[in-house]
Amino acid sequence: MSDESATTAYDDFLEGLAEGESYFLECPPGHASLPPRYACPDCGATDLEERPLPESGTVTASTVIRVPAPAFAGEAPYVLAIAEFGSIRLTGKLLEVDPDEENIEPGTPISVTTERVGEENIIAFRLR
């Protein structure tokens, strides 16, 4: 009984990433978090404001997924990374990289975007 036209704060966040208008949430004391969120995970404040996410980030850690979940059966092997954008970290698929040719070192500069995998748009990264 789902309403196909309904979008969540997560869908809006992904749309922002796709359109180059990325944001994160910040509470008055300055704790950063990601939507959907009612209260700040650090202090419980509920007046959360959208702030622009830095365009450039760096890889914190990466892996090559070789045994995927069914939704990613056609994608493996693929590089998946956690990357830091200022005070926020995101997890995403690194696009346009051959996992068996390139070793992604921590600190590698990247930018964030989205990519279509099956029915879903997912968070993705590109080397800068």
Binding site: T63, V67, P68, L80, I82, R89, L90, P106, I122
Partner: protein, 388 residues
Amino acid sequence: MEDVHIAGVGMTEFGRHPDRTGRELFGEAAHKALVDANVPRDDIEALLYGNFMGGFAEGQNHQGPLMADAAGLTVPATRYESACASSGIAVREAVKKVRSGEADVLLVGGMERMTNNPTSVVTEALATAGDDLYESRVGLTFPGAYALMADAYFDAYGAERADLAHIAVKNHANAVENELAQYRNAIDVDDVLEAPMVADPVGLYDASPITDGASALVVVSESYAEANDLQTEVAITGTGQGADSLSLQSRESLIRTPAAEQAAEEAYEDAGIGPDDIDVAEVHDCFTIAEVLALESLGFYEPGTGYAAARDGETTRDGELPVNLSGGLKAKGHPVGATGAAQLVELTKLLRGDHVNSDAVTDAETALTHNAGATVASAVVHVLEVVQ
């Protein structure tokens, strides 16, 4: 406050049970625990039961009453779900009930049926232990999450895959004589390094297997044990639980597991001991890197040094602190919801002297279990001590 004693323990063989449903597996573990305890069924007041993926695996949620029935009991029964820490947390809740005087005799345990599903479905089910929106949807698998932790650990401390391989080698060696273990074959470092990769740098032999199995304990108050002349030999003297954000990306560090640090600190304080008092431990080695992070969180090793423990023979059977003498999750097997309680089952037998590996720890009096949910967003630690 009532002291909590372990009156009996039981476990199925861990491995592949294609011909047995979950209820049969738990029924067997519960029966063995009840026989071992020599406690009348009528005295059991409740079942506290851990299970993670019953909805995926057998289309079966609401397993509490089902498993009480399977154990031949009609008692209030509750399923606890905290991913791989499900039955460790069920044990903790049982301890609290007995200590408070709310109950004197409880059945606690867990079960997971996994091998009746293809690997892809199990991979999907395990991924639901992580953050749906920010981890599973981008294609992060459970081994992938630990691979990210391992990658960050290697980068920070210069450890290598070969260091972690010694953990798998050790845990396989410990399982060789354990008739309940899934993998009873000895392996060497080259076997680990040459196995196919699952998520770099995690290879197949760095990972615990997909397993069916069940575990159960009968826990009683000390007064009940005395009144009924039970020969209880092991007590649960410390319990602790810690928490962290569900997603890895939200954490300050990828290479520390503060949930386990909190759980350990609470359990040590509860038991009135410290890490130096522990003689033997069962830790949550769902991946080889997880055993390293556990050793460091539990205060056995400083951060950045635990990776060498197995390699240097300090946590092997003959080492100063034997870790995972049962074979651990790696070789004993990891039926997710049964694992936490199974750690207590194995340690109880190791301390009582009726485990096949008891001769490695003949003087052991104090033991620890470390059970973790997903990438240690949940952690539960117990301290076990020989009574008298």
